[in-house]
């Protein structure tokens, strides 16, 4: 066989398992070997659970005689380290939680385990999911597998780098303002932020609760649909998860998009996007036209306000969510204090990194008496208008296509000095979170050897439509088949 096992997609690996060309143990040990080989240079993991994974794979071989009973059985996967795993360290890449072992599994973890998925470890991230480069991890930065001097994006940089480098077949990330899509774009993989409420957030360490959503990071669109099929659904433990009949995403991929109406919002092309990326997206739109879709330029004039809305709302919610870290119930605790207040202040001072402190301060300020209306309520009102603007556009168009990120992967250290510069990385991805709509990033080309991502957004619960559009594009392009050489 010419293609190494670790470069396969989920559906390709499943075919080998089905035909008993490989055993469960073969598949898992290949991934564990790959982790050993590339992890010293990529550093996409916080924790590797190799022994547990191998034990599970062996038990599948013994009990199932080698054949999987679901799409994900025996397929090794990773989870971003803000998704709670029972008895496995869940750190959020923060000193605050560096020894935290959850007493329960997130709902998505339960679902994947019930499908027979094999956890190989937890993925590195920007601390508490705050960042766009994974440089805010309290432990170590992750390196982009396409160029180790560059960032993988963030905050799900570990998951995106792990999938791209073959250290797992898929990973789950979380996306509050682009944290699945932007790293997927920078690492040349597929990343989906589902509609808010489609996937349970129970067991996801909260950052900004009205924006956070868990989603898959995979090598291609079919894999993305397979994972989505498994993790969606109403959960009594998350009152914001939606009760609805689940679509079967993987079965609805036809590749037929004749008559699909594509809107191209011009504002997303005016935000300092690299010219190579602009050219790439324009060429990709021609591909869609050839496939029978219609492409029209449209305008979403409120786009320019999305960044400000996000950087008021997300830190405000974060400041409330992170107040639970008080050194009493769990997490790091400063022991040498004179008083309970001193203990709390020192716990947070030592436990949180600088970006987390910055956002707590920003949020506390925006929520404080005297500024609450001017910042927080104002941002919530503009949010209403942004949602309405998207809704009206979706009356006439099925999907919207834009770049995912204004640049390809940047150098480690290049943007760490200026927080505002770093925040601009999310300019194309933030609006979908504000509106709560689904959006996917798929590989669409390369610039100087670095992957370019294309974003496809759709209306609420139109995952079927955006996945099928993405799948149609994949059928006639090869970008998703490119693998970095490590």
């Amino acid at each position: 066989m010419t293609t190494p096992l670790y470069e396969l997609t989920i559906h390709e690996a499943k075919e080998l398992l089905d035909n008993q060309m490989v055993s469960f143990e073969d598949l898992t040990s290949t991934i564990l070997d790959r982790i050993k080989q590339v992890e010293p240079s990529v550093k996409s993991f916080v924790t590797v659970t190799g022994d547990l994974a191998l034990e599970e794979a062996k038990s599948f071989d013994q009990n199932l005689g080698g054949s999987p009973s679901s799409n994900l059985q025996g397929i090794p996967f990773q989870l971003k380290d803000n998704i709670c795993t029972q008895d496995i360290l869940t750190t959020c890449s923060s000193h605050m939680l560096s020894e935290f072992i959850p007493p329960y599994n997130a709902t998505v973890v339960e679902k994947l385990k019930q499908s027979g998925g094999i956890i190989v470890g937890k993925g590195n991230m920007d601390e508490f999911a705050m960042g766009s480069s994974t440089e805010n991890s309290a432990f170590h930065p992750t390196h982009n597998p396409w160029d180790l001097k560059r960032v993988p994006g963030g905050s799900s940089g570990g998951p995106a780098a792990a999938v791209a480098s073959g250290e797992c077949f898929y990973s789950l990330g979380s996306d509050t303002g682009g944290s699945i899509r932007q790293p997927a774009s920078l690492c040349g993989v597929v990343g989906l932020k589902p509609t808010y409420g489609l996937v349970s957030r129970y067991g996801l360490v909260a950052f900004a609760s009205s924006l956070d959503q868990i989603g898959p990071i995979t090598k291609d669109v079919r894999d993305c649909s397979i994972v989505l099929d498994t993790i969606v659904g109403h959960d009594p433990m998350d009152s914001t998860s939606i009760e609805r009949v689940s679509d079967c995403y993987s079965k609805s991929l036809t590749g037929d998009i004749k008559g699909l109406k594509i809107g191209v919002p011009k504002e997303y092309f005016e935000v300092g996007v690299d010219s190579d990326i602009l050219d790439c997206i324009k060429e990709s739109l021609l591909v869609f036209e050839k496939l029978g879709a219609t492409v029209s330029e449209i305008s979403l004039p409120l786009t320019k306000y999305a960044l400000a809305v996000y950087y008021i709302l997300a830190p405000s919610e974060a400041s409330a969510n992170l107040s639970r870290y008080d050194g009493v119930k769990y997490g790091y605790s400063y022991r040498d204090a004179d008083s309970i207040w001193d203990a709390m202040e020192k716990t947070r001072q030592n436990g949180f990194g600088s970006e987390v402190s910055r956002r707590i301060m920003l949020g506390t300020y925006a929520l404080s008496a005297g500024y609450y209306d001017a910042y927080y309520v104002k941002a919530q009102k503009v949010r209403t208008m942004i949602r309405a603007e998207f809704s009206s556009v979706f009356n006439d168009y099925d999907v919207l296509i834009t770049p995912t990120s204004p640049s390809t992967a940047f150098l480690i250290g290049e943007k760490t000095e200026d927080p505002l510069q770093m925040y601009l990385n999310d300019i194309c991805t933030i609006p979908a979170n504000i509106a709560g709509i689904p959006a996917i990033s798929i590989p669409a080309g390369f610039s100087n050897g670095l992957p370019i991502g294309m974003q496809i957004m759709g209306s609420y619960f139109s995952e079927n439509t955006i996945l099928n559009a993405a799948y149609a594009f994949e059928q006639v392009t090869d970008w998703h088949k490119m693998r970095p050489s490590l």
């Binding site: 007493p103 400000a308 400041s319 600088s354 009102k381 609420y460």
Partner: protein, 98 residues
């Protein structure tokens, strides 16, 4: 409205409200960073939001009700396994009143 620059004293006050410890260097750095960031937010002053209701959640979330049925909770020892300090099945905290 006119947005004031964030002084070091104001940074210290916000930190005190939150009970977030900051070093003197953090205070100076945050004073300038927060001022710069808040400056960017002024762009929202240009949006006419009169008559617009605020949105707290991206998907309209109605109140979710369920039957009040007792069910199994996590055992106390599992809850306390991550506690920095615990005694006799309780979290142990410093005196709140001195």
């Amino acid at each position: 409205m006119t947005i004031p620059k964030i002084s070091k004293e104001e940074v210290q006050n916000i930190a005190l409200v939150y009970r977030l410890g900051l070093s003197p260097e953090d205070v100076s750095r945050l004073s300038s960073e927060l001022s710069n960031i808040l400056d960017q937010f002024r762009v929202l002053d240009n949006v006419d939001t009169s008559g617009v209701n605020p949105t707290g959640h991206s998907v309209s979330a109605n109140g979710v009700m369920r039957e009040d049925e007792p069910s199994q909770s996590l055992p106390v020892n599992k809850i306390l396994q991550n506690a920095p300090s615990a005694e006799n099945g309780y979290f142990k905290v410093r005196p709140v009143l001195e």
